[in-house]
C-alpha cells in the first residue's frame, strides 16, 4: 500500500544516495525515459550496485524498465538478481507487451527460483486505455499507473491543470483497478513550481478514485502524501464506527444519525488500515 511513488533517474547518483530519506512511500528507479540512450548501461549498473551495497533501502522499490521490444530489456531484467525489487514498472503496456514480459518473467522465476514478480503497468497509450480492463485482470498486475504525458501527446491535446483531457483515461484506470482490487496510481503533475496546481490535481484524482500519485520531484511529496492520507477527522470517525460495531456486534446500527452497515464498516476498516500503514495512528 502506498500513497506516493517518486521517480528517480537511474543515472543520478545524487538522488540515488538520498532515496531512503525522501518522504515517498516508494521509489521508482527509472531506466527508461529519464536516461539517455547512450547511458543505459551506466544507469543500470549504478542502480544495481546501489541496491546490492546499500543497507537502508526505500520501503518499496519499483524498477521502470525499458520497453519489451527494446535492446535493453534483457539487461534491465538482470537487476531482478539483486532480489531487492518489489515491482517492475512496464512502460508502453498493452496486452502484447504484457504477454511478452510475463513469459520472460516466468522463465526467470523458474531458472532463479524467484517468487512471483509483481508488475505495475503504465497506461500511456490509447491502445492501453482500450485494453485496460484486460491488463488489470492479469494475475501479475498489482497496479496501474496512468501516464498522461505520452497519452495526451498521442491524442494531440494540451495537458491542463483541470485535466478534462484525461478524465476518460483516468476513470478507465480507476474502474479497472477497483474491479480487480489493484492500486490505481495517478500520473505525475509536471509543473514542479505550481503547488496550488498540484494540490488541485491530487484532490481531483483522489475524488475520482485514484489511490496514489507519482512525483517527479521530492518537493511534491508533502502535498501528495497529505492529500492521499486519511484525514484526522476520517480516522477518528473510522475508529468510532469500528469500536461501536465491535461493541454491539450488530451488522446495522446508527452512528451520528447515519445508518452504518457492512460497506460502511468495511470502509472504516480500510481507513484504519491505511492510517496504520502510513504511521498516522
Amino acid at each position: 500500500m502506498f500513497r506516493s511513488l517518486l521517480f528517480i533517474p537511474g543515472n543520478n547518483p545524487s538522488m540515488l544516495q538520498n532515496a531512503d530519506i525522501f518522504m515517498s512511500d516508494g521509489i521508482i528507479f527509472d531506466l527508461e525515459d529519464a536516461v539517455d540512450i547512450n547511458e543505459k548501461d551506466n544507469a543500470r549498473n549504478l542502480v544495481e550496485t546501489y541496491l546490492l551495497t546499500t543497507k537502508d533501502l526505500p520501503k518499496t522499490i519499483v524498477l521502470r524498465i525499458n520497453p519489451v521490444n527494446s535492446l535493453f530489456i534483457e539487461d534491465d531484467l538482470q537487476l531482478l538478481m539483486t532480489r531487492k525489487i518489489d515491482y517492475i514498472l512496464l512502460p508502453k503496456s498493452n496486452m502484447i507487451s504484457l504477454y511478452v514480459l510475463d513469459n520472460t518473467l516466468s522463465f526467470l522465476e523458474r531458472k532463479n527460483n524467484f517468487k512471483k514478480i509483481k508488475l505495475i503497468c503504465l497506461i500511456e497509450e490509447a491502445k492501453a486505455v482500450n485494453e485496460v480492463e484486460e491488463i488489470a485482470k492479469h494475475t501479475r498486475v498489482e497496479g496501474l499507473l496512468l501516464g498522461a504525458e505520452d497519452l495526451t501527446n498521442e491524442l494531440e491535446v494540451e495537458r491542463t491543470t483541470v485535466g478534462n483531457e484525461i478524465m476518460y483515461a483516468r476513470s478507465k484506470v480507476i474502474f479497472a483497478c477497483a474491479a480487480n482490487q489493484i492500486i490505481a496510481i495517478d500520473t505525475p503533475f509536471t509543473d514542479i513550481s505550481d503547488e496550488e496546481g498540484l494540490e488541485y490535481d491530487c484532490s481531483n484524482a483522489k475524488a475520482l478514485g485514484m489511490k496514489a500519485k507519482t512525483a517527479i520531484h521530492p518537493s511534491q511529496l508533502d502535498i501528495i502524501n497529505q492529500v492521499f492520507s486519511p484525514t484526522k477527522k476520517m480516522i477518528k470517525w473510522a475508529q468510532s464506527v469500528v469500536k461501536t460495531y465491535e461493541k454491539t456486534g450488530k451488522g446495522v446500527f446508527q452512528y451520528e444519525n447515519k445508518m452504518i452497515d457492512k460497506p460502511v464498516i468495511e470502509k472504516a476498516k480500510k481507513i484504519i488500515e491505511k492510517a496504520k500503514t502510513f504511521d498516522l495512528l
Binding site: P13, S14, L16, D41, N42, N45, E48, T49, Y50
Partner: protein
Amino acid sequence: MIYQAGSKESNDCLITIKESSETKIHIDSIVGHLFYDQILEAVKETLKEQNVENVDVTVEDKGALDYTIRARLIVAIKRMKKNV
C-alpha cells in the same frame, strides 16, 4: 583508445580507462584528503573482481560514494572489453 563512464556532476565521478603496459591508478578527488585510500581500494578491488590488469585508470571524483565509483568503473571496463 580511451573508454569513459560517469560524469563530473556532484556526487558522481568520471572514470577514464585505457590499456597500458602496467596497471596505473590516478585519483583526483574533491575529498581526496579524506578518502584517497578508500577510493584507491575501491578501484583496486573492482579491477581484481573484473579480472582486469594492465590498464591506466583515472578517477575524477566529485564526491561519489563507494558504490558509484565501483559502478562507473565496471561500465568503463565493460565498454573497453566490448571494443577490444
